[in-house]
Subunit: 255 residues, 2 copies
């Protein structure tokens, strides 16, 4: 089992080290991750320039490859043959904040796993949902959970072209109530327009408000986290709204 | 009906002008689009700097707003109140190449519509699937089709949090066989690792191969396009792989 570890916070982020250490007992681990932070970067592939990769050593002696591309570039590079050995599984994270509900469409952590799923490689994305300031102090509990979920994914198998989006509450291990299979919940974003003027009187705009909240419905990722559980949401790449197809089929198109 | 026109090829792209002109008879049209090309940019939101907007005049006299952010930033800005009037519908495109199958996860054209759907605004993404060189000579037919599909979407309505992903073959109007409701097909990507050495002997990598092809299965976007139809695929934001949840619920997590 050759496991690729990547992330979107950058190769030196403490969450990546915790994840790499957690999956080390499960197989041969390779690290190929961005050399800088790509948060909120979405599903990006670099197509207009080549990629550079540097080898660095992480605290504790793990060797890692730092790439100047996006998280999905790292996954594509690895799957296209960067390492001598084929990649059997991709784990991404541990992200410094939760990737819940619609966040998954923006999240570099999740889209790295999505890129793997497109290649047919089983993939898991891990995020630590911490309090409002998004600065978890400690990844050791999240690492333990990430190891357990990855172990189960290897043991049971994930259908090809699926990925698991795992969110872990920032709680001591003995306060985490368990691990729940969930569906995607609904995020509530609070973006609003903040129009300001620069010193020369020209306008500029912030379209970002406070951090998104979520509807903590039972059975969803947001609901599970709110109750102190780890959420594991299986995601697919097929976005077709099948329930709307019959209605769409009745539409008549005017000339 | 206040219609926002945006795209990912940049505000001066001919596809945007064709789309804006096509939807003009259907309501009040506002244009807010990136000032440069954001292709393959994915679902990006700019969070670390404010956005600037300039007013420009497009050929034919249409006034447009050019923003230094990503397509999704433009949609967020518009929905957060950039215009005096609330936005009722978002149309994105017309993209210079098809957005078929898994392309939708990378596509700035589609993710702009996705951003609108997150805000609960009905949205349509339009792309012109041209021959291999991706340089359509003419957007007039695609404009006519985009107008027809948008008109129908206004007349029948789209469920909130859905978007329509429309792909138009690059054919003369009388050779287009019709408009079909489709599901997402399967793209086949041909990425491979191309390792090269720079003049100083240091390695760099291209992980991009030839253009993706698709499996032209009947009922899919790729299949419809291959037969000369326009494809209209309803997409949802809920990526949950519901069929995998029962299996995931049986997993036992080892301590």
């Amino acid at each position: 089992m050759h496991i690729l570890v990547t992330n979107d916070d950058g190769v030196t982020a403490p969450g990546l080290l915790a994840l790499a250490q957690a999956v080390q007992p499960l197989g041969k681990v390779s690290i190929l991750a961005p050399d800088r932070n790509w948060s909120a970067s979405g599903h990006v592939r670099t197509i207009d320039r080549p990629l550079r990769v540097k080898t660095i050593t992480l605290p504790g002696g793990l060797v890692a490859n730092a790439c100047d591309g996006a998280p999905s570039d790292c996954v594509a590079l690895a799957n296209a043959g960067f390492f001598d050995e084929k990649v059997d599984m991709v784990v991404s994270g541990i992200n410094t904040s939760g990737n819940l509900g619609h966040d998954v469409t923006y999240s570099g952590t999740v889209t790295a796993a999505m890129e793997a799923a497109i290649w047919g490689i089983p993939a898991l994305a891990f995020s630590l949902e911490s309090a409002e300031n998004n600065t978890p102090s400690d990844y050791s509990t999240a690492g333990i959970i990430a190891g357990r979920v990855t172990e189960a994914a290897i043991r049971y198998g994930i259908s090809p072209h699926l990925l698991l989006n795992v969110n872990i509450p920032d709680l001591p291990l003995d306060q985490i109530k368990g691990i729940q299979a969930t569906r995607m919940g609904l995020r509530v974003y609070h973006d609003k327009l903040d129009k300001r003027e620069d010193p020369r009187g020209k306008p500029y705009y912030w379209a970002i408000g406070s951090l998104p909240t979520g509807i903590p419905e039972r059975g969803t990722d947001i609901g599970s986290l709110a109750e102190g559980y780890v959420s594991v949401t299986p995601l697919q790449l097929d976005l077709t709204a099948y329930h709307f197809l019959p209605e769409l089929n009745t539409w008549e198109w005017k000339e």
